[in-house]
Assembly symmetry: C2
Homo-oligomer: 249 residues x 2
DNA sequence: CCGTAGACTTCCACTGGACGGAAGGACCTT
DNA sequence: AAGGTCCTTCCGTCCAGTGGAAGTCTACGG
């Protein structure tokens, strides 16, 4: 930057990224003022940068004058590494699972202590779920989250257990010690389950996807209840997860 | 920019976007030198910008020292607007189509004169196709491309017809006048077809998806040949496209 | 073991692109 | 008409950005 900078040390690059990152799941479109505030930039500076980003297709403007992420960023984002391979390979297996169960099927990976949903299939008849592709839900309240944390390196797991564990429903488990027990159990059992810990009326089962010795993703399914057919679901999930792992080579 | 700029007029923002856009389907990971060359930047300048982008999580570095698009850009890209809604809504219909035909199913939108594949379903038994989610194929050689151009504003269509039309297979249509005739025909028929224009041994049919009066996307299917059941495929596609349009509200 | 090549990293003097307060619209609601 | 909120443009100041050059690190061949 040059000129009378209000925040020395803030580079143009960091400001650009801040503007792009100002969008999130809850705020997919923002006005100029909102963008400026969220990126912590003076209005006129934001205006100038945003105008250029818009000109370049990194942002776009809706008919209402609000800004949204541009198609060019979609192109770029889709190339982010881990996701591409796993998603590509897993896609047919997710369909098979969906076809067999008509329940919502999830594919998730771990990014640090975050759990990223990278693909999802659900139909009208499925249990309504909160997840969206690209969203991150609390790991401790989801099947895929628990699986990924159970197989994470110890330092990551410790960090995740030490972070605040929000209570989402009355059934959410928020005691680190109890969660740690569950994670150990998951390694033994080979699958994780949740019972209304994320949404009332929704239970889930999830299994790890192995590529060689490493767990690269988790595959999960959401159903109204587990009583009847947990065994059947776990079996189907494991078959699919093995298939994906094998295809990953 | 400031200092001894080699290219006056190139702003930091445009350089940042150029670096991010240097990645594409064929080059998902690049070395520093490659990135600099593709973004047309001096090596040391590229190095500095890339280092900061990496620090910010917009890029990431593989174990081999190459650069890839970072997870943060994935988060951002997934928020790009049209895609999210249409993809979300269309997903179940794509499954239905796939289940009914076991052929590769495509969902694409137009972005200027480009055709973006925003979703795809294909199984092992489907005809192998070149498309990947996030890729752009020559519009004049694909069913969805023709549909989208047929319904595009006249200025866009003119621009698309005036741009170089590459011959991909011996059957690719590269005469603007003949393509224009086809596009007009598509408006009348309500669907587009291609016969080995993109890959030998692959034919396609595609229909528009309407939201109100506007065509917001195209739905296509790829099969080994059209002789037998073009009518059946068009009917199935139209049902699905209407369903998606209705769900979009 | 050394020389050459290629890719990456760091340094630093120069300067023009970036900064942002201020003023001027546009478009609401009261 | 007055007040509010949001967007857009202008322009004097000046430091962040620039990129050639030099240094480092591997890899390979003789």
């Amino acid at each position: 930057m040059a000129g009378r900078t209000s925040q020395p040390g803030a580079t143009v690059v960091s400001r650009t990224v801040a503007l792009l990152s100002a969008f999130d799941e809850a705020h997919p479109h923002l006005t100029l003022t909102e963008l400026a505030r969220r990126a912590d930039l003076p209005l006129s500076t934001a205006h100038r940068l945003i105008a250029e980003l818009t000109r370049l297709g990194a942002l776009a403007r809706t008919s209402t004058g609000e800004y949204v992420v541009g198609p060019r960023m979609w192109d770029v984002g889709i190339l982010a590494p881990v996701q591409t391979d796993v998603r590509e390979v897993a896609s047919p297996f997710l369909h098979d699972l969906y076809a067999a169960t008509l329940a919502t099927v999830h594919l998730a990976v771990r990014d640090g202590t975050r759990v990223l949903y990278i693909d999802r299939i659900s139909g009208q008849r499925s249990v309504p779920v909160v997840s969206k592709i690209g969203s991150r839900l609390p790991w401790h309240a989801t099947g895929v989250g628990k699986v990924l944390m159970a197989h994470a390196p110890e330092d990551v797991r410790a960090k995740a257990l030490a972070s605040p564990l929000k209570r989402v429903t009355p059934y959410t488990i928020t005691q680190p010690s109890r969660l740690r027990d569950q994670l150990e159990r998951i390694l033994v059992d080979g699958y994780a389950a949740t019972v209304e810990e994320m949404s009332l009326g929704a239970c889930s089962v999830a299994v790890p996807i192995h590529q060689g010795d490493e767990v690269v993703a988790a595959l999960g399914i959401v159903v109204p209840n587990l009583r009847r057919d947990k065994g059947r679901l776990v079996a189907a999930l494991k078959v699919a997860a093995n298939g994906i792992g094998r295809s990953l080579g």
